[in-house]
Symmetry: C2
Subunit: 417 residues, 2 copies
């Protein structure tokens, strides 16, 4: 499919993330109306609520499209949402301009729209599924010769995170206050975190509910995954370090986590399936899987200091994940834990094997010992006030591109205690 022949009557610039192949779902509002369901295409949003009002998509309940979250639409089931995706692809084809006369009513420029958190997230889980990340952290904080903990290669380690503080891209974040203790200090101290970090992650959105006691096999898992987003699991390393033994990360994470606004359906990523790392030793039967369950998605993180241009600090890829999403879901449900539509499961920091592929400042600067030079001559060990962290991701193959846009967030100074 050569890029020279446009696939859609909607203008899609070269290298747009939001191609005719993609059609991710999100929630937007503008001067015309409040939050509602839209689909990104090129630099526009196709307004599904407006389409419904014009007499299209009449099989969908209007309240599902005139909605401040995607949950009710997703809950209609994959047969419905996939059919919707195919209908929209059909209507947007360059050679089938059924909708083109309605363009002024149904297309909204992304520049003129506000994007909202697209989901009501019931439960949020964060995994720890990158071998390189777990190895780096283990080498820094424990023993470089035994960096991985004994359980790591046997199960996808994960923990429950805070759902209430998940925010949409663009929402600024005040540097968190908290308790920290310097290694040499006798007593803890209180104040703004000094070691504020990002974690480059992707997250999948659960698209089908289960009942308590129900298990999801690796073979069934894809049916339970609606789509994916970019995810910045902001981390206050100094708060986390002091609090996390023995029950895990808590306030070092729960001040905010940032989500990209467009949910890319799993099916849009079909052409980008990729083999994952070989799992050795062999996993237990409930974690075995057939076929390609990783995805080749190029990821990038940039830091933009105030009034400066962004500095790319990391280039990684989702394909590096040791544990894939199907294994994560099979493990998460093996004890009978139930899921609701809109639950979020994040990957954990996605680090690759090379040093420029590390997905956090902790690893990129190796605990601050290798600062990163910035365009303005300063350097970064961790994130400073007024820095904006920008994560981007896209998959590309044979002229086909499916992107996630970006998740960005600026760090503002702490609010006075």
């Amino acid at each position: 499919m050569p890029q020279s022949s446009p696939l859609s009557w909607v203008n899609v610039p070269v290298n747009s993330d939001f191609t005719w192949h993609n059609l991710p779902f999100g929630i937007f509002s503008d001067a015309k109306a409040g939050p509602r369901v839209g689909v990104a295409i090129g630099e526009d949003i196709l307004d599904l609520a407006a389409l419904r009002q014009l007499g299209f998509l009449m099989h969908l309940p209007p309240e599902v499209l005139e909605n401040a979250v995607l949950n009710d639409l997703i809950a209609l089931g994959k047969s419905t949402t996939l059919a919707l995706r195919h209908t929209l692809q059909d209507w947007l084809r360059a050679d089938k301009p059924t909708l083109q006369p309605y363009a002024p009513q149904i297309l909204v420029s992304q520049k003129e729209a506000q994007l909202h958190l697209p989901l009501k997230i019931g439960d949020y889980t964060d995994f720890y599924s990158s071998l390189e990340h777990a190895t780096n952290v283990g080498a820094m904080f424990r023993d470089p010769k035994n960096a991985l903990l004994p359980n790591w290669r046997h199960l996808p380690v994960g923990y429950h995170g805070r759902a209430s503080s998940i925010i949409v891209s663009g929402t600024p974040i005040h540097r968190p206050l908290g308790q920290t203790k310097a290694d040499e200090a006798e007593m803890p101290d209180f104040g703004p975190s000094r070691l504020l970090d990002f974690e480059l992650e992707m997250a999948f959105v659960v698209g089908k509910s289960t009942t308590l006691g129900q298990r999801i096999s690796t073979a069934e898992a894809e049916d339970y995954i609606f789509g994916l987003v970019l995810f910045n699991d902001w981390s206050a390393r100094d708060i986390q370090k002091w609090e996390y033994v023995p029950l895990g990360p808590f306030l070092g994470k729960s001040f905010a986590s940032s989500l990209s606004p467009w949910v890319v359906m799993l099916e849009a990523l079909e052409p980008f399936r990729s083999p994952g790392p070989v799992q050795e030793p062999a996993v237990l039967p409930y974690l075995r899987f057939d076929g390609l369950k990783n995805y080749d998605i190029q990821l990038e993180v940039a830091i933009q200091a105030q009034h400066q241009s962004p500095q790319v600090v990391c280039q990684s890829n989702f394909k590096y994940m040791y544990w894939n999403m199907c294994q994560q879901l099979a493990h998460h449900s093996v004890n009978g834990c139930n899921f609701n539509v809109g639950d979020l499961c994040a990957s954990g920091t996605i680090s690759g094997p090379q040093a420029h592929q590390y997905g956090s400042m902790l690893e990129l600067t190796w605990r601050g010992t290798k600062p990163i030079p910035m365009p303005d001559g300063t350097e970064r060990r961790f994130i400073q006030d007024y820095d904006t962290v920008i994560m981007k991701g896209f998959a590309e193959k044979d002229g086909l591109r499916v992107g996630f846009g970006e998740v960005r967030g600026q760090i503002l100074p702490s609010q006075p205690a």
Copy 2:
């Protein structure tokens, strides 16, 4: 207030948990109608939705009372819910039988009603706030001479738990499957948990939302606590042991947590305020508090084997908590983490200083080394299939009793993999 002169025209048996002083809120249904808001009194439920239909409580929106959860009622704010409490107390007084003629329409026998999970729980946090519990666990698994970790006396350690699998009292639970590894084994194994335990806890319900970045001081905290429930934080010790380093408990907990159905308002517990343990060393300023923030609530756990009578195995008290609820909330929000009405914060296992006051089988049997004899001649190290665990709690002083009823749950065998 002598028990001989009844306070209410509704019959309240001696030693009832649901006295005129208490009036806890819950969600019930019966043959007449679906889930709605009720208040427990004696052996009955006062049907608030029916009261509204009869022309009482007209200041409350009907959808708040004809509702499957308490969240919308609680979200009206404490001034409204406290005024409602006082109105109901007034209407239920023995000397003011305004409502008595309507008794057949507004009173439902608890025996004929089904009780439901009373809340839509957005986020659930579990603390670890009993000094005795943390000391016991530390002594068993780490070093008896340095049982407490360095952070424990400086902050209320906590972690995020799974909200979706919180169930109401009476819901049976299948023994979870999961990965475990025996100390001497080289590889992990998969199967039903062999070390299934309860944890005796109480939990508070957040009654007022905050915005991201907002902190709650210890002085403000009570305004954010709607009420309390009993909570059984079921724990699969063998699954937990293998999975929990470094990111904390996950599948060892997320298979189920059980909640008592009646939410006792914090104000109903006013007469039972109690001093807490002395905190030494002194806590950081944001954790300091004035006044009595602990509550003298007697707690009891019984195990009932199938077709046997219950065997009390633990008698503890909520007053033993080292970290109080106001400190928990101040700590939880100090980084700006936001709360929604209906969020749940559990105490962690409530162990007292004496051996019969330990709030888990892990501690009561000291890792299984001191089994508990049962009435049928068997013994228990952990919970066996078909055992029912029953937790009760009440406060009593000067003839005044405010109780929580019970939270019970039966363990059924694992479902086949």
